[in-house]
């Protein structure tokens, strides 16, 4: 369980407050542009620190922990892969960032690549892969890191509808496999409905406690209604 304990984050003139607990499971993060969805993810990912309050994961205070040490994997909007490293190296970083992998670890990388349908691409560079395949490489690394918290900042926004639903399906499989708690920023209410039973609404400088996705989207509060159109 992830707890936001009386958190206040300030960024210039912008503030974001959060004071709630996030149960295990999948959550969408929804809100108008500029409401602070990405800021919320950056807070959990360790890229921004709050002015006040604590961030607690399963009883452990992680407020001051460095991003890479947190029990967190992140899929960013862009730049999820290092273009100068091979697919296997990109995935292998999930096991050891310095890439000094032993035999067993290398076998794990190959196995995970097979699992996401990328067998045979280990020595290619990301630039030689399609957008969908690149998404799979990033997901393979998530699978390998097996962190209990997964943050996604619209990682599939650039993909077409068919590819996107394919990615969401793969993501669901991985989440089920690892039992991770997910926070996924999305602009698309359909994605939220399909993927996340609960949704965190970010509005008026505050991230609200998660509530059931369906009812929230059926009867959105005024600000969200204006945004969704």
């Amino acid at each position: 369980m992830l707890e936001f304990r009386d958190i206040l984050l300030r960024q210039g003139g912008f503030t974001l407050a959060a004071d709630f607990a996030l149960p295990q499971g999948r959550h969408a993060v929804i809100g108008a542009s500029g409401s602070g969805k990405s800021t919320l993810l950056a807070l959990v990912g360790g890229f921004l620190s709050p002015e006040r309050g604590r961030l607690v994961w399963d009883g452990q205070d992680i407020t001051g922990m460095a991003p890479g040490r947190r029990p967190v994997s992140t899929l960013f909007q862009h730049h999820n892969l290092f273009p100068h490293l091979t697919v296997a190296q990109n995935v292998g970083m999930g096991l050891r960032p310095d890439l000094r992998l032993d035999r067993a670890q290398k076998d794990r990388v190959t196995q995970v690549l097979e699992e996401v349908g990328l067998g045979g691409t280990a020595d290619r560079r990301p630039g030689a892969l399609s957008g969908g395949q690149q998404g799979r490489v990033a997901l393979a690394r998530v699978l390998l890191r097996a962190r209990p918290l997964l943050l996604l900042d619209e990682p599939f926004a650039a993909l077409g509808p068919a590819l996107k639903s394919e990615m969401l399906a793969l993501l669901s499989r991985i989440v089920d496999e690892t039992g991770a708690t997910v926070l996924m920023v999305t602009h698309d209410p359909a994605d939220a409905r399909a993927f996340a039973p609960l949704t965190v609404l970010v509005e008026d400088g505050r991230a609200h406690a998660p509530c059931p996705t369906g009812p929230l989207l059926d009867d959105p509060p005024p600000g969200l209604r204006a945004y969704l159109g």
Binding site: G34, G36, L48, H79, D98
Partner: protein
């Protein structure tokens, strides 16, 4: 002097590089979102760059303080020294004006004509930046000297001869180095005029005169002040040219006056006072540069998608003449040195080869130091280190090599003899002088790296040496190689601070200068060919290594 392109924004290739790294910047993100994406800004972490910046600031400011401490007071300055100050300003202004004006027709011709060898010529226009000054001086003497082609022709026509020594020689050499720079800068201005404007002009049936008035003159008005200032800055700290061609009451720069006070009169107080004058000049020029945008020094000279209209008739002949004259002015001196020196290369005395080896080792050491310092500084700056870190990296711009040399001598004179100091001080000063150029290449690239991959690396816990090996070095290889190549070539060709100290362990440029002074011109030509080849080769090897 080509080596002293101070205060000038270097480098288009690298910023293009940075732009290509940044190909898909998040675009839909709102202000709050983008702020959040800017990377870790948590507690203060001491980065290697902070240490480098502190060391650098201490070393340079300490050296300048030593100079100030030794100042003999303004009364120490003689009438001769004030003349040096006036000459410095006058020759810099004249060199800048001539270079900028002469560059306009050449740049216009290159902008609107296409011919075989054009690309090569534009590339060659970048070469003077890393051409050793002393080599160019040999070439100019070969063409414009008493027995050169120009004076032979003048005599043949019954006209008075011109001298390559004195103020004419100083101006001539400065134009030789800065005309190509100016042509490249103005050419960029021409290529920045959108093709649509020229199409519109064609559809309105503009005559060349109308195009000049409505399109070209406004561009020149915005570009020329920056070009002028770029050349002016370079010429303010001119030393080697003044040393070899100038001197005497009418052609001594402040930098040369420091050398004379130090070397001939051994009057440290006066040398230090002159050093302060030189610092004031540099600071003043940098303040001026804050007003006027100084353009990028050596861009790739890219070809725009469409050509400006190329009028026929006499204008075609005029363009051909401008290009031919510029090419001849730039190439014949070098070709003449090469022709004289190449056959003698194999019989060069052993001492020249020893000097060459010494110079290569020093240049590589200097370049390594400079690149390592630049990398540490650029990475710290990209991670949001304070402005003082960047300022520390740009400090060498206010301290000319001879000023630093004087200061280091004052600081170290109780610990080491001038002979012992000569080589280490030269390596250190050359490394420092290369920093501003290296930083201009590396900072944008390091910032792009941090913006694109900083969060990913942090989220994967990629830190320290692993980050350097797996992320930083592979992604910054190009600008690192480029910066290293520049630093190595500039250090290889430098004939500056070493003249203050040594003669028994000369570098190759110093050896060449000694050969010239003892009228061993055949050996000097061969040494010049060797020096030029080594400088270009060092640049090429480093730059290739980065690709």
């Amino acid at each position: 002097m080509a080596a002293r392109l101070r205060g000038v924004t270097v480098d288009r290739p690298q910023s293009a590089n940075a732009a290509s790294l940044r190909h898909d910047v998040p675009s839909a993100a709102s202000p709050a979102d983008t702020d959040a994406l800017r990377g870790p800004r948590r507690r203060f972490v001491v980065l290697p760059g902070h240490l480098v910046a502190a060391l650098l600031a201490a070393a340079i400011l300490g050296t300048l303080a030593a100079v100030a401490w030794a100042v003999g007071g303004l009364s120490a300055l003689t009438e001769w020294d004030w003349r040096a100050l006036r000459f410095t300003l006058w020759q810099a202004a004249l060199s800048a004006t001539l270079s900028a004006l002469l560059a306009v027709p050449v740049a216009r011709a290159l902008a609107r004509r296409r011919f075989p060898g054009r690309g090569l010529l534009v590339t060659l226009l970048g070469a003077p930046f890393i051409l050793p000054v002393i080599v160019a001086i040999m070439g100019l003497i070969a063409i414009f000297g008493r027995n050169g082609f120009v004076n032979d022709s003048l005599r043949g026509l019954g006209l008075p001869e011109m001298s390559v020594y004195g103020w004419q020689g100083v101006i001539l050499a400065h134009v030789f180095f800065n005309l190509p720079l100016s042509v490249r800068l103005i050419l960029q201005g021409w290529q920045a005029i959108p093709a649509e404007r020229f199409r519109l002009a064609a559809s309105l049936d503009f005559a060349p005169r109308d195009i000049a008035r409505h399109l070209e003159r406004p561009m020149l008005r915005s570009v020329l002040p920056g070009v002028w200032l770029a050349v002016f800055l370079v010429c303010l700290t001119s030393f080697t040219v003044a040393l070899a061609l100038g001197g005497g009451p009418g052609a001594t720069t402040v930098e040369l006056a420091i050398y004379q006070a130090f070397r001939f009169d051994f009057d440290l107080g006066r040398a230090a006072t002159l050093g302060l004058v030189q610092i004031a000049l540099c600071v003043g020029a940098l303040l001026l540069a804050r007003w006027i945008a100084v353009p990028a020094g050596f861009g790739a000279g890219m070809d725009g998608p469409a050509l400006p209209p190329a009028p026929g008739g006499w204008r075609k002949g005029g363009d051909a003449l401008a290009i031919a004259a510029a090419a001849a002015f730039l190439l014949t001196p070098l070709l003449s040195v090469t022709a004289a020196g190449l056959p003698r290369l194999v019989v060069l005395p052993g001492e020249v080869w020893t000097a060459a080896l010494r110079s290569v080792i020093m240049a590589v050491t200097s370049a390594t130091l400079a690149v390592a310092a630049c990398l540490a500084l650029a990475l710290a700056i990209a991670r949001g280190a304070g402005r003082w870190v960047e300022a520390a990296g740009m400090l060498p711009l206010v301290a000319s090599p001879l000023v630093l040399g004087t200061g280091l001598f004052i600081l170290l004179r109780d610990m080491a003899t001038p002979q012992q100091m000569a080589l280490p001080v030269t390596v250190a000063v050359n490394a420092a002088m290369a920093l501003p150029f290296g930083l201009r290449a590396l900072i944008p690239a390091a910032q792009a790296l941090q913006a694109d991959y900083g969060q990913l690396a942090a989220s994967l816990d990629l830190r320290g040496l692993a980050r350097l090996r797996l992320l930083v070095l592979p992604r910054l290889a190009r600008p690192l190689g480029f910066a290293g190549g520049l630093a190595a070539a500039l250090a290889m060709g430098d004939l500056g601070v070493i003249t203050l100290f040594a003669s028994d362990q000369p570098t190759l440029p110093l050896k060449l200068y000694q050969l010239m002074n003892s009228y061993r011109m055949a050996d000097a030509s061969a040494a010049a060919v060797l020096l030029m080849t080594l400088s270009f080769a060092l640049f090429w090897i480093f730059d290739r290594g980065g690709r």
